[in-house]
Amino acid sequence: MQPVFAPRTSRARVSPRLAAALALTLIPLATVLAFTWAPTNLIGIVDGEPQYDFPQKIFYWHVPIALAAYLCFAAGAWNGLLYLLHGKKDHDIRSYAGVHSGVVFGTLVLITGSIWAKIAWGVWWQWGDRQLLVFLTLYLFYAVYFVLRFSMDAGRTRERASAVFAVLGVALVPLSFMAIRIADTLIHPIVLTTDGNGMTGPMWTTFALAVLGFGALAVSMLQLETAGKLRALRGWCADEDEREATHA
């Protein structure tokens, strides 16, 4: 008989419910502020008509989602490192959840970025931009993680290989963040600079709320996905399909 009231699977520092509530409060708030409070930059006057940089509103979701993706990848790598140090299966599951969430957020970064690029640069993708290339490399690297993981039988070997892969990938995160600053083309807009790059107080406040909101969402996703997989792993769920899917 499986335990019904099982002990806690983890010592979660942040409650997933609290994180979800924060996300569901901050993200809509930041979105409303982005359209009602944060000013829209004037980019010129054509035929006497002022032209505004309205597509810049995408920034309030695109960049926080990118930071959430980095957070998830970092969580995946950190737990991969903990697995290599301690060999606990929990860390393997947490590492997997981090990479999985990071790839979902990463997909959204690429989609929202492409839409913004289309309206700002006139193209869906800019191969000359190192920031884009490094992020794409990071994304594809972690996408390959799943190919590696699910091409091996469950067990210590697979867990170790997955952990090493997750740790190696995180080296691309700071490289991606810094790439824009060492890029030659300087096409990608640099927003996070010490002088604010023309962003006003309301724009920064709105952006900060969005970052906190999407950060909370990422934490919530990580906690919930990890909780589900740990339950399946420990056989607290009668659903055989789910246990199979977890590859415990």
Binding site: M1, A20, Q51, T107, I119, E225, C237, A238, E242
Partner: protein
Amino acid sequence: MHDGWEYVLTTYLLTSATLGVWFWMIGVKLRRQRRSRQEQARG
């Protein structure tokens, strides 16, 4: 209406839908697990 509003709208809707479906799927999975545990408790 500002130029490019349709791009902005598409971005926000697409992202909301993706994250909403993901959140919903995790919720469905956790609820199924809770039901399963309750059934086990009843024997």
